[in-house]
């Protein structure tokens, strides 16, 4: 509990008419300047939480304050301080990118003269200068997402909410989008609260992460601390079938946890694969074992999630023991519960 927290919630609850308990009990705090990742499967309650924090939904119970302001008591003041990128694009396709940004500025009470330099700067930042005066309906998916970000930033918000901002982008587009986010954070000193399905996506971006499921936070921590709970990365080294056993050598490499051999494959667990991979390959070389292939498996949200909730799932009868990672998430889409 800290008054300088950008976002703070206490036992936040949202029950929709009809009894859907979308958010059951969420307490979290996001520090100023931080990028906070909010992870969870479909229907976990991410959008509902964001909607309450952004004054679009009224909490059933509990409290939330954003930029030091209570979201229920001072909704207009909260809105003035935040920027919002929705899960679905909300720019007006009949307007140009620039016009959409001007509209947003005007809605936040900025005069055209105040908007102009700010818009020019953001268009440049988001690589949208050439497209600025084209209608948004002709934009590519990636351009639309960048425009959403630019629109959300026109009034220089203190806190930016991104609800699955990379949905529908290919891996390249996603990587690109994250670069823009990082740039924004560096240049504009903005606090970012973002939701996503993908742990790998937030891994290099978020300072802290909360995992939500069934409307409850089941874990919070830094990227590393969460990964450690499921044993971190796994490096797989493929060696010839007749190679000598070098498990002991591999275990002694700095940064390596557990090592196991499975035929021609070594599974090497380590909190972070970066830097360790090359040391492992060199250790193999030094022992006279030729490495035929290397792959790194990062802990996915599925694995972190299963590790944290495995039991709960079976109790609820989703699957019994055969719970493949994919099936945990399938069949639980919107309205599935």
């Amino acid at each position: 509990m800290n008054s300088s927290d950008a976002i703070q919630t206490e036992n936040l609850v949202k029950t929709f008419p009809g009894g859907v308990e979308a958010v059951r009990d969420v307490s979290l705090s996001v520090r100023e300047g931080e990028i906070y990742g909010f992870l969870g499967p479909n229907g976990a309650g991410k959008t509902t939480t964001v909607s309450m924090l952004t004054t679009l939904l009224r909490p059933t119970r509990g409290r939330a304050s954003v930029a030091g302001l209570d979201v229920v008591e001072h909704p207009r003041e909260v809105r003035q301080e935040i920027g919002l990128v929705f899960q679905d694009s909300t720019a007006d396709g009949e307007l140009t990118g620039r016009e959409n940004m001007e509209l947003s500025g005007g809605l936040f009470g900025m005069t055209p003269a105040e908007c102009r330099p700010r818009i020019a700067e953001l268009l440049k930042r988001m690589d949208l200068v050439d497209a600025a005066d084209r209608r948004v309906k002709g934009y590519s998916g990636g351009m639309k997402r960048r425009l959403e970000l630019a629109v959300a930033m026109v009034h220089t918000p203190k806190i930016l909410f991104l609800d699955e901002p990379t949905i529908g982008l290919d891996p390249q587009g996603r990587a690109g989008f994250w670069r823009y986010i990082q740039q924004l954070r560096q240049e504009q000193r903005v606090t970012i609260f973002m939701t996503t399905h993908y742990l790998d996506e937030v891994e290099n971006l978020c300072d802290r992460i909360a995992i939500i499921d069934h409307g409850q936070i089941i874990a919070t921590g830094t990227n590393d601390s969460l990964k450690e709970r499921v044993g971190g990365d796994v490096v797989e080294l493929r060696v010839p079938a007749n190679a000598a056993d070098i498990s002991a050598t591999l275990t002694s490499v700095p940064g390596v946890g557990e090592v196991s051999r499975d035929g021609t494959l070594y599974h090497v667990r380590c909190p972070r694969a970066e830097g360790v991979v090359s040391l492992l390959v060199r250790a193999c070389d030094a022992s006279g074992v030729a490495v035929e292939g290397v792959s790194v498996e990062r802990p996915s949200l599925d694995r972190v999630f299963l590790a944290l909730t495995g039991k709960a799932y079976r109790e609820e009868g989703y699957d019994d023991g055969r719970a493949s990672q994919a099936s945990v998430f399938r069949g639980r889409g919107r309205g599935g519960r």
């Binding site: 952004t54 004054t55 679009l56 939904l57 009224r58 909704p75 207009r76 003041e77 809105r79 003035q80 935040i82 919002l84 929705f86 679905d88 694009s89 909300t90 007006d92 396709g93 009949e94 307007l95 016009e99 001007e102 509209l103 947003s104 500025g105 005007g106 809605l107 936040f108 009470g109 900025m110 005069t111 209608r135």
Partner: protein, 277 residues
């Protein structure tokens, strides 16, 4: 308050000027009505040309010198309804596209959102009305065409009454249909209800026919129909009040009450739709 309103109006305007089909069709419809119905249904031709019969016709048309003059004023009411029919569609699309959600997430006041819709959609109703009136007056100057002939000296008060009637009528119907836009989530539901209302509203008015011939119960409804009220204000000022039981300002008062009631209804439904749930 002014900057957000201006921004919302500008957006509406940009969307409008970029949809040429909408503009052309919207402005062409009233002109076609005027040319086709107005010139074709010249009831005056059914009446023998002797002065007594013509005087009887003028009485049936409540003082209008010919059927076209009577009809052209009625067209104002008809155009008000048919142009306002679309007033609520923008809100529904904005809901579906998430644009309304984005707007609500800004500090703009809910009443400003409502006001911007009402003002812009209202202007889209007023515009074709003035085109109709202008054309009808112009027709009277063209030989061989039936046109709107104003037989009275309007004066400043009369002119103001007519203008106020036009704007208030536009506000009334824009509010009505805008209210349905805020109420419904789907265009299908919207047009189902709008189509249901559209013809009864038109045909229980005296816009197109003098209602002297209809049954009493219908005459009672007709008397209170907002189109009738607006049209009465205009016809009394254009053609004289001899056939009307009340002076024009009485009808104008009734029309203002309608607009106020419908406006309040629309505002309530809008604030319900824009409220944080």
């Amino acid at each position: 308050m002014f900057l957000p309103l201006r921004s919302l109006l500008k957006r509406e305007y940009l969307r409008w000027v970029r949809a040429p089909t909408w503009i052309i069709a919207g402005l062409l419809t009233p002109i076609l009505y005027l040319l086709l119905f107005g010139q074709a249904f010249n009831l005056g031709k059914l009446v023998p040309p002797d002065p007594r019969a013509q005087a009887g016709l003028s009485a049936a048309l409540l003082g209008a010198p010919n059927y076209f003059s009577y009809f052209a004023v009625g067209m104002v009411g008809m155009v008000a309804v048919t142009s306002a029919l679309f007033a609520g569609t923008g809100v529904i699309f904005d809901k579906q596209l998430g644009i309304l959600q984005r707007t609500i997430a800004t500090p703009v006041r809910r009443s400003t959102i409502f006001a911007s819709s009402l003002i812009f959609r209202g202007l889209l109703v007023v515009l074709p009305i003035f085109i109709v009136l202008g054309l009808a007056l112009a027709f009277a100057q063209i030989p061989g065409l039936a046109g709107l002939t104003v037989t009275q000296n309007l004066g400043a008060v009369g002119l103001i009454e007519v203008l106020v009637a036009i704007f208030v009528l536009a506000i009334a119907f824009t509010s009505l249909f805008l209210a349905f836009g805020f109420l419904f989530a789907r265009v299908e539901s919207y047009f189902a209800v709008v189509n249901l209302l559209n013809l009864p509203i038109l045909f229980t008015s005296n816009a197109l026919y003098p209602y002297g011939t209809s049954p009493t119960w219908l005459q009672n409804i007709t008397a209170y129909n907002p189109i009738s009220l607006a049209v009465n204000v205009m016809r009394e000022n254009f053609f004289g009040g001899a056939y009307y039981p009340h002076p024009a300002y009485v009808y104008l008062g009734g029309l203002v009450l309608w607009a106020a009631a419908l406006g309040v209804m629309a505002l309530l439904l809008a604030s319900r739709a824009l409220r944080t749930k």
